[in-house]
């Protein structure tokens, strides 16, 4: 008789599902200010524990505490708050516009605004981001016109991408925002290539890669880490862990490694985890990693621990796979409220001013939307030309495309 034990497959499951009480007791949250800040030229071997901790600056009372605090002035923080509020208002308007049929699709940032807004403030003009679809804060904080974002979302006659790309897959070379693919993970390794090129040319600009928790399972992630590590590319590699990959909880991609940041340890990379809902912490960690890259000390892997409050996209309904109240239970709070409370505590902001700012910002977003809608929305008004569909496949149109365009009658 075969007495060998029978095998069984382990399939990870989140602790809770719809109808259950949300439970984040497994998320260990260190006290704000408790994680040390190493010098940027630290030997990565010395800071392996940072891959298992969470760097936090804002405490429960809204104070900025610890060695990572103090990278921004109050005025800069106030600007940062406005960026996040703008992104939130922008999302709200565009979600409504999608429901009204003005575009086919939208992806919002609710809960994750600090990650891209704060990171952008640590970069210089000329640096290049290779973003995913949930980093529009890089554009907002980088001064890219909201009207152009909306023109792209509406695929209208003024769409900078000529109607060729799915909504929110922006591109702006001028604003250091590489064309978003929509395929997951592919751009992580391209960011490394851009950084290698900058090093080959003895330039001073750096690249920044972005990827989600789910997409770290793609081979591109591993290729990016291998190349970044081998050639010490001047790149900052960001994993935005918002806990959910559409309906799949982060444990499916993470497996047994404890944290996503820990994936960097085997490559000899400094790997840091940061409170992604803490604007000041994200900025401080970004500044540290950017300085490392700028000083030719090599790449850094950062895991931003955050939570996707909204649906994955307008084609998704999270109530089918997670408790409806889970976002309220998320222990790192809301990035906008936390930064607002900090500024109030600093005595440079108030609830009243916040309400005023909200109203002003919403007016600005609405004005931008009106301007964009003058150029049309997906199904009405001005549209990109059909002729444009055939342009730009190559620098010069080859004969077969000329024949096809002729056949299409445009």
């Amino acid at each position: 008789m075969d007495e060998r034990p029978r095998l069984s497959l382990h399939v990870p499951e989140p602790e809770v599902r719809p109808g259950d009480t949300p439970d984040f007791s497994r998320v260990v949250i260190p006290r704000a200010g408790s994680v040390p800040r190493p010098p940027v030229d630290v030997d990565p071997k010395e800071i392996r524990d940072l891959a298992y901790s969470i760097i936090r600056v804002l405490d429960r009372e809204g104070q900025a505490v610890g060695p990572w605090a103090g990278t921004l002035t109050d005025e800069e923080v106030a600007v940062g708050l406005r960026h996040m509020m703008t992104l939130r208002a922008f999302d709200a308007r565009m979600l409504t516009a999608q429901r009204q049929g003005k575009t086919s699709f939208y992806m919002q940032h609710m809960g994750e605004e600090a990650v891209s807004c704060a990171f952008r403030m640590a970069l210089e003009d000329g640096d290049m981001n290779f973003p995913t679809y949930r980093q529009a804060g890089l554009l907002i904080a980088g001064g890219y016109p909201m009207v152009d974002m909306m023109n792209q979302i509406f695929s209208n006659e003024a769409d900078p991408l000529k109607g060729r790309q799915l909504p929110v897959m922006y591109s702006s070379k001028e604003h250091g925002f590489f064309s978003i693919s929509g395929n997951l993970g592919t751009q992580f390794v391209q960011a490394v290539g851009w950084a290698m090129a900058s090093a080959i040319r003895n330039d001073s600009r750096i690249a920044v890669g972005w990827i989600g928790d789910g997409s770290t399972a793609e081979s591109d992630f591993h290729a990016a880490l291998v190349f970044a590590s081998t050639y010490r590319a001047p790149v900052v590699l960001n994993i935005v862990n918002n806990q959910w990959a559409i309906s799949t909880f982060q444990g499916i991609a993470r497996g047994g490694s404890g944290t996503f940041a820990a994936r960097g340890l085997g490559f000899g990379l400094p790997a840091l985890r940061v409170d992604g809902n803490d604007y000041l912490a994200v900025h401080a960690v970004a500044k540290w990693a950017v300085e490392r890259a700028r000083r030719n000390l090599g790449p850094t892997l950062i895991e931003h621990v955050t939570y996707r409050v909204g649906a994955h996209s307008t084609s998704d309904d999270p109530s089918a796979y997670r408790p409806k109240t889970e976002s309220d239970a998320w222990p790192l709070g809301d990035p906008v409220i936390r930064l607002k409370n900090h500024l109030i505590r600093r005595g440079v902001w108030s609830e009243e001013r916040h309400r005023q700012a909200e109203a002003e910002i919403m007016d600005t977003v609405i004005a931008a939307q009106k301007e964009a809608e003058k150029h049309g929305t997906l199904h009405s008004g001005g549209k990109p030309s059909v002729r444009d569909m055939f342009e730009g496949v190559y620098a010069e149109m080859p004969p077969h495309l000329r024949r096809q365009r002729q056949k299409a009658g445009v």
């Binding site: 290049m128 290779f130 900078p160 991408l161 000529k162 060729r164 790309q165 897959m169 591109s171 702006s172 070379k173 590489f178 064309s179 693919s181 395929n183 592919t186 751009q187 390794v189 391209q190 960011a191 490394v192 290539g193 851009w194 950084a195 290698m196 090129a197 900058s198 090093a199 080959i200 040319r201 690249a207 081979s219 591109d220 290729a223 990016a224 291998v226 190349f227 081998t230 730009g392 496949v393 190559y394 620098a395 080859p398 004969p399 077969h400």
Partner: protein, 337 residues
């Protein structure tokens, strides 16, 4: 002028391109210090330094992925995939990224990269060193696909590819690296030094992409071929005494349809050749174009002679390879139809 093998001509092309343009960088597996398993990059690292010619980890996805990022920065990477059979891990980067970057960013970002890879069989390489995957690339909008058949063309086409503003898949028929090969594997190998196309200019010159070349003038039947099959076609035509017009396509995408149509309208017969498998192969595209553009001139069905629809075998290599016997039979069939 110098006598060059196809390997030397390809190396010379990269040397010339790197010498003229500092933005040209060359990398891949075993490409740097050692100079490539086929020696195509030998000496380039010594001449241009490690930051312009270097070894990479064994990651085709990584090689192409970083090349795309470098191109977006403004460099002109010319990368080597050690064998075309190994390109598949990079397929997503090529198809979803390199090929579409110009289009989806409305020209803000472009991707002037060259992806070189040895292709085709005839060296007892078995299924992992013999494939001809060109049709997987000709099906992709935004790519250009080149297959040279001799040293002189290889150099001029590779320089054109490196200077091209868009991504180019550059397939090098490895059985032609050291000499023309007509499929008679049991006969002595002819070196390029004894072939007129082995005479190659040492400096800069280009052969334009998208232009075919008539290798043999004829009036009885048009043979459409590229890479190794050009020589197989020549041997078959001579052996059967058929006055075939043999067109070396050189670039598959964009294709020189004018050259094809002009010839088939003249001969009224057409045989299409490739080493790659038959079904959904590039020959299907050629046959379809010929019937679209030459139907009223055709006097016989278009014939295809290709590799069989099996994985590329090892011991049965010469039963698989579409050699001069099978090509000759197709020529006769086209003539007698």
């Amino acid at each position: 002028m110098a006598r060059m093998t196809m390997i030397e001509a390809i190396r010379s092309a990269m040397d010339v391109a790197m010498g003229r343009d500092e933005r040209v960088v060359v990398f891949g597996e075993d490409v740097g210090y050692f100079g490539g398993v086929f020696r195509c990059t030998a000496g380039l690292q010594q001449k241009y330094g490690r930051s312009r010619c270097f070894d990479t980890p064994i990651s085709e996805l990584g090689i192409v992925g970083v090349a795309i990022g470098m191109a977006a920065y403004g460099l002109k990477p010319c990368v080597e995939i050690q064998f075309a059979d190994y390109v598949y891990p990079a397929y997503d980067q090529i198809v979803s990224e390199a090929a579409r970057l110009r289009y989806r960013s409305a020209g803000q970002f472009t991707c002037p990269i060259v992806i070189r890879m040895p292709t085709g069989g005839g060296i007892f390489g078995g299924q992992t060193h013999s494939q001809s995957p060109e049709a997987l690339f000709t099906h992709v909008s935004g790519l250009k696909v080149v297959v040279p058949s001799n040293p002189r063309d290889a150099k001029g086409l590779l320089i054109s590819a490196i200077e091209d503003p868009d991504p180019v898949i550059f397939l090098e028929p490895k059985r032609l690296y050291n000499g023309p090969f007509d499929g008679h594997h049991d006969r002595p190998v002819t070196p390029w030094s004894k072939h007129e196309a082995g005479e190659v200019a040492e400096g800069h010159y280009t052969v334009p992409l998208g232009k075919a070349e008539v290798r043999r003038q004829g009036s009885a039947v048009t043979v459409l071929a590229y890479g190794t099959m050009v020589y197989v076609a020549q041997a078959a035509a001579e052996e059967r005494g058929i006055d075939a017009e043999i067109i070396d396509l050189r670039t598959l995408l964009p294709l020189d349809l004018d050259a094809i149509a002009t010839s088939v309208q003249k001969t009224g017969r057409c045989v299409v050749l490739h080493e790659a498998t038959l079904t959904s192969g590039f020959g299907a595209e050629l046959a379809a174009l010929v019937q679209e553009h030459c139907f009223w001139h055709l006097e016989a069905p278009v014939q295809r002679v290709t590799g069989w629809d099996t994985p590329y075998p090892h011991a049965q290599e010469w039963d698989y390879f579409p050699g001069p016997r099978r090509v000759g039979e197709a020529l006769v069939a086209a003539m007698e139809a």
